[in-house]
């Protein structure tokens, strides 16, 4: 590990230097394995948060309550520490700059991580319009908040909307609550534009959003999903 950046109270980005890293596509992930002194090993998957950058990869880890690996990575790991990394893994939930279709990104909580890799990999190589709808509980849960806002105001074809499910910032016009079909119409792309949709987050969130998109008329084969969330301590 060569660098750590705290993103929110519970999430941090770790920059790892992986000699010989072969490069990866936006949306892919890595398996990270930790080994305790007695030989006990635990491994989990983390999405890559940034595009290929030589031997440096970035993962953003959300601390999961009682999370064996996430609490180590999110809070304990220091610069100079070594972990085992395997990857890149996954070839379906990916976006490539050659894809010119409009892109709809719908994230629930830390599901924004692989979508951020897609947003970051678009710079200077694609004009495909991107819209991100990020569902978070409170404004304090906005990972990459500063960078996303700054990208959105640059006018480079990226629109960002935050949907708050518990507490909204002062002045927010949309009322607090879970994402609805109306949000997807208002802040997303209409089906006749044939966007590629990437939905990522906890399974109930992904199920709901995928169903809403299909009910709105989006082609199911243009909806790619990645499901996250606590799957064990």
């Amino acid at each position: 590990m060569v660098e750590r950046r705290r993103e929110t109270e519970t999430a941090s980005t770790l920059v790892l230097e992986v000699p010989g890293w072969p490069g990866h596509l936006a949306g892919q992930h890595v398996d990270v394995r930790l080994t305790a002194p007695d030989g006990y090993q635990a491994a989990r998957s983390y999405s890559l948060a940034a595009p290929t950058n030589g031997d440096r990869i970035e993962i953003t880890v959300q601390r999961v309550p009682d999370g064996e690996v996430s609490s180590y990575l999110a809070d304990e790991a220091r610069n100079g520490d070594t972990v085992e990394v395997r990857g890149p893994v996954g070839g379906w939930f990916v976006w490539k700059p050659e894809d010119s279709a409009p892109v709809l990104l719908v994230a629930g909580g830390s599901g924004v991580v692989p979508l951020m890799a897609m947003i970051r990999s678009r710079d200077g190589v694609s004009a495909a319009p991107f819209r991100l709808i990020h569902s978070v509980r409170t404004p304090q849960d906005r990972i990459y908040d500063h960078e996303l806002r700054s990208r959105a105001t640059q006018g480079g074809g990226l629109d960002i909307t935050f949907v708050y499910t518990r507490t909204a910032p002062a002045g927010e016009t949309r009322s607090v609550g879970r994402i609805t079909a109306d949000d997807l119409i208002r802040y997303g792309w209409l089906p006749d534009l044939a966007p590629t949709c990437y939905v990522c987050g906890p399974t109930p969130f992904v199920e709901t959003v995928a169903d809403l998109l299909i009910d709105l008329g989006h082609n199911p084969t243009r909806i790619r999903t990645e499901r996250f969330g606590p799957t064990g301590p």
Partner: protein
């Protein structure tokens, strides 16, 4: 060669020996599908086995329900490292479905509503190793877990237990399915930790 991780202690050593290498126990039942959950009305549902000579046998939902079903208790292992022990299912054995089918094929390509597919040797579907399962823990199998019916092949990683199963093609040659084409292992034995190609 193991690289020890400074400051990591971990927890939960599995002393039962029931977990394959690299797996951890969960009480959850995670869903990790690549796309939206297909919704298949039962009156449109069909399961088809097609041989290498393009001969096929098909069952409607009613016909499947009329076949003898079994209760199965199995440990299931996902390639993303979670495992569940003693899960209860109900389904029709592939031995029952394949009983009257003549074939020289050694391989199977399983296909699902929604476009998913996965491959495995035919012998891994036989002799009490595989079912078309339609009940989980005493309830109808939920759509996000593969309902109305999924393949259940517990001795391999769970991506081989194709959800929303619609048919099996018996083939003379092996042909990689969805995840296999994306770098996952052709066979997928959890006890040999065959997660990705080359393992």
């Amino acid at each position: 060669m193991d690289i020890f991780t400074r400051g990591f202690r971990g927890r939960g050593r599995d002393s039962s020996g029931q977990l394959p290498p690299g797996q951890y126990l969960t009480n959850d039942f995670p869903v990790l599908s690549a796309g939206p959950t297909p919704r298949i009305p039962l009156d449109a549902w069909a399961f088809t086995i097609t041989t290498e000579l393009a001969e096929s046998q098909q069952w409607s939902w009613a016909e499947l329900m009329a076949l003898p079903a079994e209760s199965i208790t199995a440990n299931i292992h996902c390639v993303t490292r979670w495992s569940k022990l003693d899960t209860d299912w109900r389904g029709v054995s592939l031995d029952t479905l394949l009983a009257d089918i003549e074939t020289e094929a050694d391989f199977a390509l399983v296909n699902s509503y929604g476009g998913y597919s996965t491959n495995l040797p035919l012998e891994d579907l036989l002799d009490g190793k595989a079912w078309v399962a339609f009940e989980y823990e005493g309830e109808e199998l939920a759509p996000e877990h593969g309902g109305p019916a999924r393949l259940l092949v517990p001795h391999l990683y769970l991506w081989k237990s194709a959800k929303w199963v619609r048919g099996i093609d018996l083939m003379l040659q092996d042909s990689p399915g969805f995840w296999e084409q994306l770098g996952y292992h052709d066979y997928g034995d959890p006890w040999r930790e065959q997660r990705y190609q080359g393992d």
